[in-house]
């Protein structure tokens, strides 16, 4: 069975600072995908960033980057130059080909002006 663990239920960061959200997962699959989704108060689910397990290079998307450690089964999200609009719930998710997403319990991030 696949599990995704987010150990930080709540975090806060000053505007313009950097914050890192942690995520670990457990799987016996070798080919899989990892994602971070953002859920603002409107409760939409917005894809932030994606990482393929077969790629060693960490994914980057503007101010968002990941630290993917496959051996450690760790997939953290770094948000640089935090903005007020980054305030949201962040979910780490795992998927293997053709299958469902497995979500973590989420980290509530508050950006403080």
């Amino acid at each position: 069975a696949q599990t995704v663990t987010q150990s930080q239920p709540e975090m806060s960061v000053q505007e313009a600072e950097t914050v890192t959200l942690s995520c670990t997962y457990d799987t016996s699959e070798s080919n899989y995908y990892l994602f971070w989704y953002k859920q603002p108060p409107s409760r939409q689910m917005i894809l932030v960033i994606r990482q393929e397990a077969y790629k060693q290079q960490n994914a980057t998307e503007n101010r968002f980057s990941v630290n993917f450690q496959k051996a450690a089964k760790s997939f953290s999200l770094k948000i640089s130059d935090s903005q007020l609009g980054d305030t949201a719930m962040y979910f780490c998710a795992f998927m293997y080909t053709g299958n469902q997403f497995y979500f973590g319990t989420g980290t509530s991030l508050t950006v403080i002006p």
């Binding site: 995908y33 994602f35 989704y37 409107s42 409760r43 939409q44 689910m45 917005i46 894809l47 994606r50 979910f91 998710a93 998927m95 080909t97 053709g98 299958n99 469902q100 997403f101 497995y102 979500f103 973590g104 319990t105 989420g106």
Partner: protein, 113 residues
């Protein structure tokens, strides 16, 4: 950018009534999913649908639930006899292939009275 569209945005239903939640996936997508998020909890997988049949379902997806793609564009989730515990946000998602990110709709908030 193409979007997954869900209607209604909010549905209020009496306990025991049937409810149908509607989704229009992105037009060239072949994989369809329903997820549920009870308030304050993580997103949970309900069912995946491919090639006009259910490919996977979770323990939550019991005999009270059914899915259908009636006309090649809509993808519906039916709850036959709603219970109080069915109150949640229901997300539809679609993917072009089984290894592409799933694009989520904005969700339908279901409230059972």
């Amino acid at each position: 950018e193409p979007e997954v569209t869900q209607t209604p945005s909010h549905q209020v239903t009496q306990m025991g009534q049937e409810v149908i939640l509607r989704c229009v996936p992105i037009s060239n997508h072949l994989y369809f999913y329903w997820y549920r998020q009870i308030l304050g909890q993580k997103v949970e997988f309900l069912v995946s649908f491919y090639n006009n049949e259910i490919s996977e379902k979770s323990e939550i997806f019991d005999d009270q639930f059914s899915v259908e793609r009636p006309d090649g564009s809509n993808f519906t989730l039916k709850i036959r006899s709603t219970k109080l515990e069915d109150s949640a946000m229901y997300f539809c998602a679609s993917g072009e292939t089984g290894d592409q990110p799933q694009h989520f709709g904005d969700g339908t908030r279901l409230s059972i009275l």
